[in-house]
């Protein structure tokens, strides 16, 4: 059998997904037995023009991580889609926008102002900010255009599968790779995990009645090790988040932050999480409710930690 041709790419992401891919450890030897890696900017020296020269659909699988925040990423995403038979959104950023997606609370102008002009350690008297085109004596220089919004991979190109996580757990990555190697692929559109139910289904903590008088941030308390974290007032996203990760965060006394995306059937993970959190508030008194809500300092960052671009509103409105 001919070896599979695999491409890996990173767009608006942190490099953690590459670590996630390497977490499969010695199984990578099994992978290279059956697959050739034809493009992987983090590890091998293959240029964009080499990919451009590849025939259409000549790559069997592309694992694409990162959201789309500039014109270069959009261009490469479209090119890789054209060259690949199977396109996989790998990791939370490609899937929902991820942490970089929280930049959708701002736009290009407000981000550039902050980064290049306003930060306390910045001295930029000439107000120099990046321009897509710059004239120099030698000719014109081009850099990618920075967009106002971060988009998910699915908002940019047709995607066949999703491997969720920030980064995906080793078991999840391997589950997908095994399916690819054996040729037993699930139906198009599948979010590949071991468990389509919520993280709570993977979590061993005891659940009882959820009635919360006060929400805490993680540094404000040491949770009791066996009871549901949400019941203890920590904003745990387990109830709204797809399982299959094995719930490593709650086991380490940290609330789930939602990196595996919404549970099956939910279109807006943040709204679902918000709804659940509001429902467990133990008060019918408007004043007291308001006080309890005051403890939630950053609702968007809490509820849409990895999914703001993929949410119903997608981004903040800026006038």
């Amino acid at each position: 059998m001919a070896k599979l041709k695999v491409a890996l790419y990173w767009a608006a992401s942190c490099g953690g997904c590459e670590i996630g891919q390497l977490q499969i450890g010695e199984k990578i030897l099994k992978l290279v037995e059956v697959a050739d890696i034809v493009f992987w900017p983090v590890a091998i020296d293959v240029k964009y023009k080499d990919v451009e020269a590849m025939p259409s659909k000549s790559i069997d699988v592309c694992l694409f991580n990162g959201g789309i925040r500039n014109s270069e990423q959009e261009h490469i995403a479209k090119m890789l889609r054209e060259k690949s038979k199977v396109m996989i959104a790998y990791g939370a950023c490609a899937y929902g926008g991820g942490i970089p997606g929280l930049a959708n609370l701002f736009n290009k102008q407000t981000i550039f102002d902050r980064v290049y002009l306003e930060t306390p350690s910045t001295l930029n008297n000439d107000h120099t900010v990046p321009q897509p085109k710059t004239k120099v004596p030698e000719g014109e220089l081009n850099i990618p255009e920075f967009y106002d919004s971060v988009k998910t991979l699915r908002q940019t190109i047709d995607v066949d599968y999703v491997i969720p996580g920030c980064p995906p757990e080793e078991r999840t990555t391997w589950l997908a790779l095994e399916a690819l190697i054996s040729g037993k692929l699930p139906p198009k559109g599948t979010v590949i995990t071991h468990n389509a139910k919520a993280v709570c289904d993977d979590c061993s903590r005891k659940r009882d009645v959820k009635k919360v008088k006060k929400f805490y941030r993680t540094f404000e308390m040491i949770p009791e090790p066996e009871i549901c974290l949400l019941e203890q007032g920590l904003l745990c996203a387990g109830i709204t988040t797809r399982g299959g990760c094995g719930a490593p965060c709650p086991q380490a006394n940290m609330p789930c932050t939602g990196c595996y995306g919404p549970v099956a059937g939910v279109i807006d993970q943040g709204a679902h999480f918000l709804s659940a959190v509001a429902s467990v508030i133990d008060s019918n008194n408007p004043e007291e409710v308001r006080k309890i809500i005051d403890d939630i300092r950053d609702p968007v960052g809490t509820f849409y930690r990895y999914s703001l671009p993929d949410s119903l509103l997608g981004r903040a409105r800026i006038k």
């Binding site: 736009n107 102008q109 279109i267 709204a271 019918n284 119903l312 509103l313 409105r317």
Partner: protein, 140 residues
């Protein structure tokens, strides 16, 4: 052309929908800008409903339920009263003006109250203008 606000009203079956009905039966004059969706209880209103309405082109969303203590299912409106403030806090971060989303209590006998809430909200949103959901920049 003058701007006519599109408001989605999500009304509980037992009190508020009946209140809206009463306003109609009593031939009250009120702004025709609210498109009513009937749900069994204000506790049924998921935050995603409100977001979906805004995403689909509504300029405002009005959620109405029974007065506290009167919910047909005992507690549904208390649930709505917990979700709405949190949702509105989140919407403020998203640049959505406070007046665009509103939760009120209207009983089956309060046709007048229904009419005045609708009129008031329609006027507020007329002043705010259409809800354009964009990032204010040139490329989305």
């Amino acid at each position: 052309m003058s701007f006519e606000p599109k408001i989605v009203g999500i009304l509980c079956n037992w009190c508020s929908y009946a209140g809206a009905d009463l306003a109609g039966i009593s031939r009250k004059k009120f702004a025709p800008n609210v498109r009513v969706v009937r749900v069994m209880c204000s506790g049924r209103v998921e935050p995603a409903f409100v977001l979906k309405a805004l995403q689909s082109g509504a300029d405002g969303v009005l959620v109405l339920g029974c007065h506290p203590g009167d919910c047909h299912y005992a507690e549904g409106n208390y649930k709505a009263a917990r979700r709405m403030p949190l949702l509105k806090k989140m919407l403020a971060q998203m640049g959505v003006e406070d007046e665009r989303v509103r939760l009120e209590w209207v009983s089956a006998s309060e046709g007048d109250r229904f009419a005045s809430i609708v009129n008031e909200m329609t006027e507020k949103i007329r002043q705010l203008g259409p809800f354009n959901h964009n990032g204010g920049g040139a490329n989305g």
